[in-house]
Symmetry: none
Subunit: 244 residues, 2 copies
């Protein structure tokens, strides 16, 4: 199964190296950095040192400007966040979630694990678009996991859940639209909801995060995204006529 | 259960700090160092920095000269070694071993996890005295786990095997709307889709059954049904204005 690790606004180059090593040791190699602090982070000395031989992961890694770019092709988004958010996705432990995701009849096509910055974690709006917030069970009063350590644990649990090395990738039955397609549809729908006076842009009241969660659960296919965009378009056209 | 982490001839002070943090985050605090490279390793800057707040673990840590001293009071010894030794204890994966140890009628009184030096791992004679050699399943061809990362994984698996810290704060179960509420919403939505000229009642093309399936997967709550009915209402009102 396609698996991607996405680091958002990472500060410490050493951590990026540690993450590359943690991924490689569990057989993963798709690393994307969103706005890292250092533009040359993939070539910095601390990075190379902490990567300790996982140079191919660094070589393959991409640096992008937006989370959207980072998530291209991914359909199941796992935030890693210690503190549950209101209106956010359900908070689950990794093992519990992984066994459920893989046990369900329709496993996702691509799974992305999102990690926020060392100091501030993930932004609410980035958490909102995820299907789940993975919370690694840690000691009460000291939940301070190092970034590379967190990646190590998630990579390990995910690899184990996948059955270890060489396990056959389960076949997706219903092709699920990727995160970009879903967020594009939601933006379209948001415009339509504003146009029909259901959504007040001045007082959005978490409507879009809520709809995002609802559609995450529905896990729409590309065809369904197409239908939903058609609905949004018809709403906008009707609203347009109403204005004349 | 008493749990101790024993680091043998560790070279890098940063790793000692990383180990302290990795232990603490999983609720362990008994750390013993056998002949570390630096006598003042517990007070070095890299150590404190990587410990990132796990200072109490460092403060409690002991430095000793021999493995014997380090193992005082421990009854079940787990080596961590990537390569199996002839004549050594059985090599097992952590999860497999932990569930067996804890499932057996007579769980040990104290468990020690032994970690060799970064460069050379554990000496054969140290491995020989252990009850098991734990081998963390890693990618073929790249089994190079950082020391703190290895401690993190073992501490996590052991904590989980011990029953964990419980799942993240259980969220209120999301009450799912009943079938009648869902079909009522779908009828409302159908009228709205006709009103905005998206659905042609003469050629409905399975649109509503498809949306029904999509919303079945989303399993909306009563509150979400309410939101969706609000959307349908706003669409109908807008369509009404468009006709005037």
């Amino acid at each position: 199964m396609r698996t991607r690790f996405v680091l958002i606004q990472t500060s410490h180059a050493g951590n990026v190296g540690g993450v590359a090593r943690a991924m490689k040791v569990m057989g993963f190699d798709d690393l994307v950095l969103v706005q890292p602090r250092w533009a040359n982070v993939l070539r910095r000395e601390e990075t190379i040192q902490r990567a300790s031989g996982a140079n191919d992961v660094l070589a393959r890694a991409r640096i992008v400007d937006t989370l959207d770019e980072a998530l291209e092709g991914m359909s199941h988004l796992c935030a890693t966040a210690m503190t549950p958010r209101d209106f956010g996705p359900p908070t689950r432990s990794p093992r519990e979630h992984f066994s459920e995701v893989l046990g369900a009849g329709n496993p996702p096509g691509g799974v992305a694990f999102l990690f926020g910055s060392e100091r501030f974690g993930m932004r609410n709006e980035d958490v909102y678009r995820c299907h789940v917030a993975l919370s690694i069970p840690t000691a009460p009063g000291f939940g301070s996991l190092n970034l590379a350590a967190a990646v190590q644990l998630i990579a390990y649990d995910w690899r184990q859940a996948l059955g270890g090395f060489g396990a056959p990738a389960p076949q997706a039955e219903r092709p699920q639209a990727d995160a970009k397609a879903l967020s594009g549809m939601l933006e379209h729908l948001e415009q339509a909801l504003v146009a029909v006076d259901f959504l007040d842009p001045e007082a959005p009241k978490k409507l879009m995060p809520r709809l995002n969660q609802l559609f995450n659960r529905a896990a729409p296919s590309d065809e369904e995204i197409h239908i939903l965009r058609g609905v949004a378009k018809a709403m906008l056209q009707t609203a347009d006529r109403a204005k004349r």
